[in-house]
Symmetry: C2
Subunit: 317 residues, 2 copies
């Protein structure tokens, strides 16, 4: 469960007086925060605590994560010259990631650790817009009007993102997840033309080492196209029932897809929806139970525990 | 083109010193603002200048439209008692709407005027959350945990919204549009259970008077369900190609669906996409060319004119 931490009191305590970027670069703190939901909920895997902009900051982009806003880029990238200044990631740039994963694998034992990175399109949107955007209008204008600059930028981001995943795998991650949070803002034609080749590049070369999970939000219209990245597992948000997704993607394992807002409901409807996700997931080649998106900030940890226990009771029977 | 005004200098000038709610209640100003894009672009229809919260304010809800934020509700509705206080709309509550439409039909002559209202689910989300929400978490919690309260609230909103549309039709609107801006945040199962019956109620009774258009954003997974409201025309956002939508909805006319972000691109890709929308739209039973969502604030009016002219050149040929 991505962003499970932010609803936990122990997370807020651990983060006190530390910015998000400082926290991501502190191996002991990354280890502690990654372990918190595993300890509290007894999940079957851990998600590495980091942020999709960490590798961008690591190659010298002036990016900060502003509470209540998200990533803010001091000097947005919009021209050929801007793209030329974007260098590739060197494993030494993110020694703290290697170190944190070393601590984590020792503590996790048999529990798998899932590493992650943001996909080129989503990273590019932050870099071009200068921060979070509802309409991605500058990004889409660049794609349409200067496809050469777009592909140069997205190509460099694919390399950074692939390298960031490779560092995590070499340090001991058992699986990786590529988040294309904003891909749902593209039509399938534009996704195939502008995003898919770069996400594929980011995931290529990691094959045969660990399973690769690919996820986006509002991507019901892109599921088939997303499988062409080569990912073994496709994340599905709550808008597409898992049995419907399984019929469309018979060769893929699926991850998802309880509506994060269901956590705020009473126990009875919450457990009924959990059961329905488990039932629908049986149609898939494989199913990783998860929320259909990140944990909402006001989620009650007791409700998340209820869901994890229900999943365990049902699947271990 | 919804929200065409906000990119126009003449709109900003007309609105100077006037709040959004004041503007919506001023018949001369409503008439002037509604006419502006018709005059500048020569569109084939006019969209009534108003806001989806106008009928809520008219029945006594303390709601304001805060620039840069959206509708903000002073006392959110969340309980049975809150719902009981929500009275129905009387045509006298919105005399300024009747008056504005009278002025408009005189000025428009043969050009049809499209009236509109927000759908019950979208209105309910503003009332329950207290303002715009990304996750609609309180709304969804109420649906799931207190379906009785939800249905009572949405039922009253359906009545208000139906009455608001009826007032516009009686005053002279040639068609009406029901906006369910947030419906895309629901799974199909939840849309069918919690939103569809109330949108259907809002549109029922208007049949046989004028064509009814139903539109949402990110509703590719709901198109078939949305037709069950009885609407003659379904609005499609840019994520679903019109030929694909036409294959799924052979009995409906379609409205849409140029990506609003395309307006910010260079002329060549903009016109290529305009042509593609026109081409794909030929597969539909009928096609109203439009953007797939509202006009983005930084759109260049010259680009919108270019698109309107291209549509006219092509369709009048």
């Amino acid at each position: 469960m991505r962003q499970a931490g932010r609803s936990l009191p122990e997370y807020r305590k651990a983060r006190e007086g530390t910015t998000m970027m400082e926290a991501c670069r502190n191996p002991e703190l990354v280890c502690e925060i990654t372990m918190q939901p595993v300890r509290r909920y007894g999940t079957d895997a851990a998600i590495f605590f980091s942020d999709i902009v960490v590798p961008l900051a690591a190659v010298g982009i002036d990016v900060d994560i502003v509470p209540g806003v998200g990533p803010v880029v001091a000097e947005p990238l919009r021209t050929e010259a801007d793209v030329d200044r974007l260098r590739n990631l060197d494993p030494c740039d993110v020694g703290y990631v290697t170190e944190a994963i070393g601590l984590l694998t020792a503590e996790l034992g048999d529990i798998p650790l899932i590493g992650f990175a943001g996909a080129p399109f989503t990273l590019a949107s932050y870099l071009i817009e200068g921060g979070p955007s509802k309409d991605h209008s500058k990004t889409k204008a660049l794609m349409r009007s200067r496809p050469d600059v777009w592909h140069a930028l997205a190509g460099r981001l694919a390399a950074i993102c692939g390298e960031f995943l490779r560092v995590q795998i070499e340090a001991g991650a058992s699986a990786v997840q590529l988040f294309d949070s904003w891909a749902g803002a593209l039509s399938e034609a534009h996704y195939r033309r502008f995003a898919l080749p770069h996400s594929t590049a980011a995931l290529t070369g990691l094959a045969e080492s660990v399973p690769r999970i690919h996820f986006g939000v509002g991507t019901g219209h892109l599921l088939e196209a997303m499988t062409e990245t080569g990912a073994e597992v496709i994340g599905v948000d709550f808008r597409t029932p898992l049995d419907e997704a399984a019929a469309r993607l018979p060769d893929k394992a699926l991850q998802g897809n309880l509506d994060p807002a269901a956590i705020l409901a009473d126990d009875e409807p919450l457990l009924a929806e959990t059961d329905e996700v488990l039932r629908a997931g049986r149609a898939a080649k494989g199913h990783i139970f998860n929320l259909g998106h990140g944990v909402l900030p006001h989620s009650d940890p007791g409700k998340l525990k209820l869901v994890v226990d229900r999943v365990h009771e049902t699947t271990r029977r």
